[in-house]
């Protein structure tokens, strides 16, 4: 099984000289790409994946420096070639695409010009030929109406479209290799699925080799052929994707796999890797993972393990791992324990998990007919004056009950209004219409003073722990501020005691109180944000994407913390997230939002197993499966969400719905009770349509499959 190796990285070292010392971002990385494969480079932030990708292209700027190693491509070492020759290779034989496609395109030129420029830089094309080829490329990557799009500027396209444009640019000169650095991280799951599909197609149709850099294990599992796992500047394990995912041979890989929440897993504590990624200024002696490794032994602290093939009697010689104790650890049993837990759920009828919140009592929060519109950014005061008013329909006629002690998950694509709804529920935004009744009190009717005293009961946790903490205040000041405002603890000593108590409950130490936020890692900052929310002993917390900025291993810890705190203080959560795996793991009930409306709401188990609403189904099938062998009948999601300024008529989802019927275009669907406490807003569940008919319809759709042309965005 020896394919032709097309690019060989050997012993690559890249360092950054900073004021506080030398950061060894890439510390002896070796791997090779084989013709026509997708090789995944996976790891958490700071592992050195992106720097590896850029080092191959010699895109390292001062204070960074490639200090050692070779990158062999076409019998030449890219690292010693003259810069002029490297420039001839860039974009021509090796192309690179980046995470934020919108920012990767020059805002001052049309996308067509930018692609043509690359063509004319490397190939002998005149303007007309370049234009024709560009239009061909745009159509190859699935951009509708490529002739017209040629003259579009980047800001006129959606993020997913821009990523297609960048991919078209990468394809333009028929490169041998594409290096894709987190190409889908900035995109919604539905768009991510489309882009990954496109990358796989390129490999199949053009034989292009792809180096896919990502932190997302699901993306790796569903797309890659082989994987290298990076940790602290080194590759710690390498092998075919199904082996890495199912049979890891390095404790770090195993930890990563266990930390990922999966659909249908039990709603219990996630496994997490203790500690944080080491500071690359001073990597630990011996194995760099040993301070966090549960199998840490004497040797591990002294000997730096090399990336060696697994023992010859193991069936595959492609597997390599950098662990001294790999033969001693029974990885398979560890993984098997997890698998049986999951299998137990899927195979046998799943035991109904009791809803933590639901009692027969009245709901803690009753929101009815909430509406919140915003003025679009593009609208000037003059437009408003003249009267051509338009609104962003962020939240449109949403009614929702939240019961004490439960977690309500709020999911949907970006721009669906979930953040706005969260803020209206916590009364950070005053709704334009509708009421929020909190424990019997209508918040919308309270005057300012009463509202202020109510605020102590409702708190928020924000997505970005960096920007939601004041960088000039110490942790003590940050956490004690709400105490001053709401609880009037005037006594300095009592306040300090309370802060230390709070720090302890979120897993930080008392001595942390005097430090400023910048001294903490991302996960720790989020803990500070949680401590601040808890300070005033709230009953209800709206957590807006609290873990989406965090790495997998840290994410697991924060989710565990949130669940522990809920139990300890009997908290009620609204948990907003775009990651269905995470929501499914933590939520008792889930509400699915689309373009400002809740289109499905019910118990977590009822929502996903099996999915009922076509949109829920689409979201669900967008998640890259963690099991690479799973040949799922995935619906490839279509298109991008329409503008919330002018939502489609009838059912708002009909423009993208694979099951759309004639009446969906004009008639607004009603809410249907579907089983106990499960509401679906969809014409498929209209009363006059009996269930046999629905099932037949679904079966018919599935047999038909989704036509290829529906892969295309339709914006």
């Amino acid at each position: 099984m020896s394919k032709k190796s097309i690019l060989e990285v050997r012993d690559l070292h890249t360092q950054f000289e900073t004021d506080s010392g030398v950061v060894k971002a890439v510390d002896g990385v070796s791997f090779s790409l084989q013709q026509g494969e997708i090789y995944g480079l996976v790891g958490e932030s700071g592992a050195g994946k992106s720097v590896t990708g850029r080092s191959i292209m010699r895109l390292i700027d001062p204070p960074g420096n490639i200090t050692d190693g070779t990158v062999r491509f076409n019998d030449e070492n890219l690292l010693t070639l003259p810069m002029a020759e490297v420039r001839d290779i860039r974009g021509n034989e090796i192309a690179m695409i980046f995470q934020n496609a919108m920012a990767a395109l020059n805002p001052g030129y049309t996308i067509g010009t930018q692609i043509s420029d690359v063509l004319q830089r490397h190939k002998d094309f005149n303007d007309k030929q370049a234009r024709e080829r560009t239009i061909q490329l745009l159509s190859d990557v699935g951009i509708p109406d490529p002739e017209a799009r040629f003259d579009s500027y980047p800001h006129q396209l959606s993020g997913g479209m821009c990523q297609r444009v960048v991919i078209a640019m990468a394809l333009s000169c028929d490169p041998d290799i594409i290096i894709a650095d987190e190409p889908t991280t900035a995109l919604d799951v539905t768009i991510q699925a489309q882009i990954l599909e496109l990358l796989s197609d390129l490999r199949d149709n053009y034989g292009i080799t792809v180096l896919l850099i990502t932190h997302n294990m699901g993306v790796v599992a569903s797309t890659c052929d082989r994987v290298g796992v990076m940790y602290a500047g080194e590759v710690v394990e390498e092998g075919p994707v199904q082996d890495i995912v199912a049979k890891p041979r390095h404790p770090y890989t195993m930890g990563l796999m266990q930390a990922v929440p999966r659909l249908n897993d039990a709603r219990e504590r996630l496994e997490s890797i203790p500690g944080d990624m080491p500071n690359l200024l001073k990597t630990p002696n011996g194995c760099s993972f040993h301070p966090r490794c549960p199998y840490d032994a004497e040797d591990c602290r002294n000997v730096d393990p090399s990336l060696d093939p697994l023992s010859p009697d193991d069936r595959s010689t492609e597997r390599r791992t950098a662990c001294l104790r790999t033969d001693e650890i029974d990885f398979d049993r560890e993984m098997a324990e997890m698998a049986t837990e999951a299998d137990g759920k899927e195979g046998s009828p799943k035991p109904k998990i009791p809803n933590r919140g639901r009692t027969d009592s009245d709901p803690l929060i009753e929101a009815s007919n909430l509406q919140k519109y915003f003025d679009p950014e593009s609208q000037s005061w003059l437009d408003r004056l003249i009267g051509e008013r338009e609104y962003v329909h962020a939240v449109d006629d949403v009614s929702l009950d939240i019961y004490e002690g439960e977690t309500l998950g709020l999911v949907g694509e970006s721009g669906c209004g979930k953040t706005t709804l969260g803020r209206v529920l916590s009364h950070l935004y005053e709704p334009d219409a509708g009421t929020v009744v909190y424990a019997g009190t209508d918040l919308t009717e309270l005057d300012r003073r009463k509202l202020k005293s109510m605020r102590g009961n409702i708190q928020m946790i924000f997505q970005d722990p960096v920007s939601s903490l004041n960088p000039r205040k110490s942790v003590y000041e940050i956490i004690s501020r709400p105490l001053e405002i709401h609880q009037n603890i005037a006594d300095e000593v009592a306040r300090r005691e309370r802060v230390e108590e709070l720090l302890d409950s979120v897993g930080l130490k008392p001595e942390h109180a005097s430090r400023k936020p910048h001294a903490f890692s991302g996960g720790q900052k989020q803990r500070i944000g949680i401590a601040r929310a808890l300070a005033v002993e709230p009953d209800f917390i709206v957590a807006d994407e609290p873990v989406s900025a965090l790495d997998v291993s840290i994410q697991a810890k924060i989710i565990n913390l949130l669940m522990d705190l809920q139990e300890e203080f009997n908290l009620t959560y609204v948990f907003i997230a775009h990651d269905l795996n995470v929501v499914q793991h933590i939520a008792d009930r889930i509400a699915v939002m689309y373009l400002g409306e809740i289109i499905e709401c019910g118990d977590a188990d009822d929502i996903f197993t099996p999915p009922h609403h076509p949109y829920t189904e689409m979201l669900l099938s967008s998640i890259p499966p963690l099991d690479p062998s799973a040949e799922t009948d995935r619906i490839v999601p279509r298109g991008t969400p329409p503008s919330p300024i002018d939502p489609p008529s009838g059912c708002r989802f009909h423009t993208r719905c694979p099951r759309a019927m004639e009446e969906c275009k004009s008639v607004v669907p009603a809410d249907h009770q579907f089983g106990e406490d499960h509401t679906i807003t969809c014409h498929l569940f209209d009363d006059d349509r009996d269930h046999a008919e629905i099932n037949a319809l679904i079966a018919e759709q599935e047999a038909y499959g989704v036509p290829k042309d529906q892969l295309v965005d339709s914006d």
Binding site: D88, G108, Y109, H155, L382
Partner: protein, 315 residues
């Protein structure tokens, strides 16, 4: 929404701003305590002369009629006569205004000629010797008051070296060389601040552009350094530079008043100043209105140009 709609809207905003400005200017004269006619003629003038002047200035009419008459006059070119020498204000402004514009544009050109290369040189090698030199110039230019710089220039080049005329004005139609030699010192005194501000602005804009992801992408696609500098860095850095240039023009218009006095340059600024000293109300009103209109017009042109250069601004 196309460019035309945007332009029409932008134009409407300018008209609105001018309307507000005209009310302010109109009020200045009326808000002076006492009767403007009496203030002009002095306490010893007889009542008959005062009454005649009141009629001449429309002061006997209700306030809204005064404003409407004034605006109608402004729009029809009937700007009234100077109270001092009875020459039509329109003719006075017609002579003086082009001279001031000439000086302002000349200053701005000096500002651009200095700042463009200096900002570029500084940004191409940040923290190098030449970068520090450019930043020093920039700091110096922003700190020095233009009238002081004007006096120093006048002393050095006019008095001690005697290479340039220390004051006065010559029309470029009559003698282009003499015209430039008369204008160069006041223009330089004014333009130094612009050069200083623009240098620093351009430097930081270029540095910011160089750090953009699309510049990294351009490098990853093998574009030549020159292409990247031209099409990616400069193209995007010069758009805000242009806007800033428009703002600078407004500052220059303000600075012209002082520098014209320092160099005895007979422009609109001196006309307004003399008008103020003589309480020559028609001259003050129209001088100010013309200055403000120019400022509004320049900003309109800058915004419209900006919307052509930067496709994102169009809505």
């Amino acid at each position: 929404m196309g460019w035309i709609t945007y332009s029409v809207r932008r134009l409407l905003i300018s008209v609105f701003v001018l309307f507000v400005a005209s009310i302010l200017i109109f009020s200045i004269v009326r808000l002076i305590p006492g009767d403007p006619a009496r203030v002009f003629l002095g306490p010893t003038a007889d009542q008959e002369a005062v009454d005649t002047l009141r009629v001449q200035l429309d002061l006997h009419l209700p306030i809204y009629e005064q404003y409407l008459n004034w605006i109608a006059g402004v729009l029809t070119g009937n700007w009234g006569n100077s109270l001092i020498n009875d020459i039509p204000v329109f003719d006075l402004v017609l002579i003086r205004f082009p001279r001031s514009i000439q000086l302002a544009i000349f200053s701005l050109i000096i500002g651009v000629i200095i700042s463009l290369p200096l900002g570029l040189l500084a940004a191409l090698q940040p923290n190098s010797g030449r970068d520090y030199a450019a930043l020093f110039f920039s700091q110096f230019g922003m700190s020095v008051p233009s009238f002081w710089l004007g006096i120093i220039l006048m002393l050095v080049f006019g008095r001690y070296l005697g290479v340039l005329p220390a004051s006065g004005y010559v029309s470029p139609m009559e003698d282009p060389v003499a015209a430039v030699s008369h204008m160069i010192m006041p223009a330089f005194a004014l333009g130094t601040i612009n050069a200083a501000v623009l240098t620093r602005f351009l430097r930081s804009e270029i540095l910011e552009q160089r750090g953009k992801e699309y510049v990294l992408t351009a490098r990853a696609f093998g574009h030549y350094k020159g292409t990247i500098l031209r099409k990616y860095v400069l193209k995007n850095a010069l758009i805000p530079y242009m806007t800033n240039l428009g703002i600078q023009f407004g500052w220059v218009l303000g600075g012209v008043v002082i520098i014209e006095v320092v160099f005895s340059y007979p422009g609109l600024g001196r006309l307004v100043l003399d008008g103020l000293l003589n309480r020559d109300y028609p001259v003050i009103q129209m001088g100010l209105l013309v200055l403000i209109s120019t400022y509004v017009l320049v900003n309109l042109v800058v915004d419209l140009t900006y919307s052509v250069l930067n496709p994102k601004i169009r809505y």
